[in-house]
């Protein structure tokens, strides 16, 4: 688990203290779920960012919560928890998915890549470097999902996956600004950094396609 240490942020330790006080105000459903030791549990074995992990989990645990709460890989963010915002986007066997709408137990033997697995400080993935170069974020909360989504969409274009913005379905695909924005519509940025995100993705896509 040494891989998470470089990403350990002080804010999280601060939040942990605050959370102890906040538990009194937890919605009843959340509290019941956390305390329900009778709920069925299963063992899941999967590869996360190249490391084999074995977890015993409540069947209800989503891939997102397994990553964040059980493996402490907090780069993947929980926004809406309903597939609307894309903050939880990760790669499962190279395919981008919403980790919030996927049960961890259904990923047994899968290979998952999160933002922590794409690149490291000092050895950034080109998409991570481009987001910094183009100032493609403000608060940064949506950024890990945006980057994972962008990496995967370049691969989707290579594989001939069409989008709503595609003209001729059978012609070779290109990644215009309109195409790129349509393909990224599952990643919401409430700061509105879209223009710079599009510039960052365009730069990397131009090099990879």
């Amino acid at each position: 688990m040494d891989e998470t240490n470089a990403f350990e942020v002080n804010r999280r330790k601060l939040m942990a203290g605050s959370a102890a006080l906040a538990t009194l105000n937890l919605p009843s459903g959340v509290e019941a779920q956390a305390l329900d030791e009778e709920a069925p549990r299963v063992v899941v074995t999967f590869t996360i960012n190249g490391h084999l992990q074995r977890l015993q989990l409540d069947t209800r645990v989503t891939l997102l919560d397994a990553l964040r709460e059980h493996l402490h890989l907090t780069g993947t963010k929980k926004g809406c928890d309903h597939g609307h915002c894309g903050a939880c986007t990760v790669l499962a066997n190279g395919i981008r998915i919403n980790a919030c709408l996927s049960l961890a137990v259904m990923h047994d033997s899968d290979e998952i890549t999160t933002i922590e697995g794409l690149g490291r400080p000092g050895a950034l993935h080109p998409m991570q470097a481009a987001f910094i170069e183009y100032d493609a974020f403000q608060c940064g909360y949506c950024t890990p999902g945006q980057i994972c989504s962008a990496v995967a969409l370049v691969d989707e274009v290579k594989r001939g996956v069409p989008s709503h913005a595609t003209g001729d379905l059978t012609a070779p695909m290109t990644l215009s600004n309109v195409e790129l924005r349509e393909r990224m519509s599952g990643n919401i940025c409430r700061c509105g950094a879209y223009s710079n995100i599009a510039d960052a993705v365009s730069k990397v896509a131009g090099e990879m396609l």
Partner: protein, 316 residues
């Protein structure tokens, strides 16, 4: 979410038997709709049978020149398949008009067909809804109904089928193949697959408990030009207000189905036969007997204009 036990199915027939033998059991594949509803406790299965790893994920040519799509083929795989893009473009177009890249990567062909409705009151668990709590009443009638159905409704439910892919499958005369818990199989025409609400809005399809969709078959390609036009409140990632799926031929004839206007993809063959006479004639017949609310009556003229756009696109 309520607690549930979990198993992976070994075969389609075993999966069907597993769900049939346990009250409260459900299939799960992509899970994008089911898990969302489980988080709201609108769906509360006590046992999940995971069918994701069954051998139902292939797209194959059929002997009559058609295509057989495995139930577990993802929306992305289906929209990207070379033959689908070439011969059944309306399916590719409809799929990529819906959801997001992330969701289409997980959502399956069968799951998409079986998605629940998106009526705001279905999601509002404090209010009556005959789909969610049979017999409790319909909050949408007299409520906020802008997005809901204008035809095919009943006094018990006015929810629309929100799907895109299903509308395309309807114009292609697709067939839904299933296996029942006793191991027998059957083929259901897509036009019979989504039921109108009538007296029992909670029954949305003709499947018996445990019956598993295994494939969707398409007849040989219909030729012509393929169109899917979706009108929605924002340019991407939104359900349709009105959609039109069409396959148009050079002689002016064609097939047309409307989406998000009824509890099922709305195709009236007698209406599409009027295509040579223009969109107004088609819509007048297709929507004869419609019972819109004051909030969603606009959908009928919008359907005509959307069809006019599609017809112009076909001529271009």
């Amino acid at each position: 979410m309520k607690p549930f036990s979990y198993e992976q199915a070994a075969s389609p027939a075993a999966a069907a038997a597993a769900v049939a033998s346990r009250p409260g059991a459900k299939f799960i594949a992509g899970g994008t709709n089911l898990l969302d509803l489980m988080k709201f406790q609108i769906e509360t299965p006590t046992h999940l049978v995971d069918v994701r790893r069954l051998d139902l994920n292939r797209i194959e040519d059929t002997s009559d020149g058609g295509l057989r799509i495995g139930a577990l083929v993802t929306n992305t795989e289906l929209a990207s398949h070379p033959r689908v893009k070439r011969d059944y473009g309306v399916v590719s177009r409809a799929i990529v008009a819906g959801a997001t890249g992330q969701l289409r990567n997980k959502a399956t062909t069968a799951g998409n067909l079986l998605q629940r409705n998106r009526c705001p009151y279905f999601y509002e668990t404090d209010l009556p809804c005959n789909k969610r709590r049979p017999g409790s009443g319909c909050s949408a009638i007299g409520g906020v109904s802008r997005s809901l159905a204008v035809i095919g409704t009943s006094q018990h439910c006015i929810a629309q089928n929100p799907g895109d892919m299903a509308v395309a499958l309807r114009v292609l005369d697709a067939t839904v193949e299933t296996v029942r818990p006793d191991g027998t199989t059957r083929a259901i025409p897509i036009g019979d697959f989504h039921l109108l609400p009538g007296e029992s809005p909670e029954i949305e399809h003709p499947l018996v408990p445990g019956e598993l969709v295994t494939a969707v078959s398409l007849p040989k390609p219909p030729g012509g030009t393929h169109h899917y036009h979706k009108v929605r409140d924002r340019a991407s990632y939104a359900f349709a207000i009105v959609s039109v799926a069409a396959v148009l031929q050079k002689d002016g004839s064609g097939r047309v189905a409307f989406g998000s206007v009824a509890p099922r993809p709305w195709r009236i063959e007698a209406a599409e036969a009027l295509l040579p006479r223009g969109p107004a004639a088609v819509v007048e017949t297709a929507f004869a007997g419609a019972r819109p609310t004051p909030e969603n009556a606009f959908k009928i003229p919008l359907a005509e204009r959307t069809l006019a756009l599609v017809v112009a696109e076909g001529r271009a």
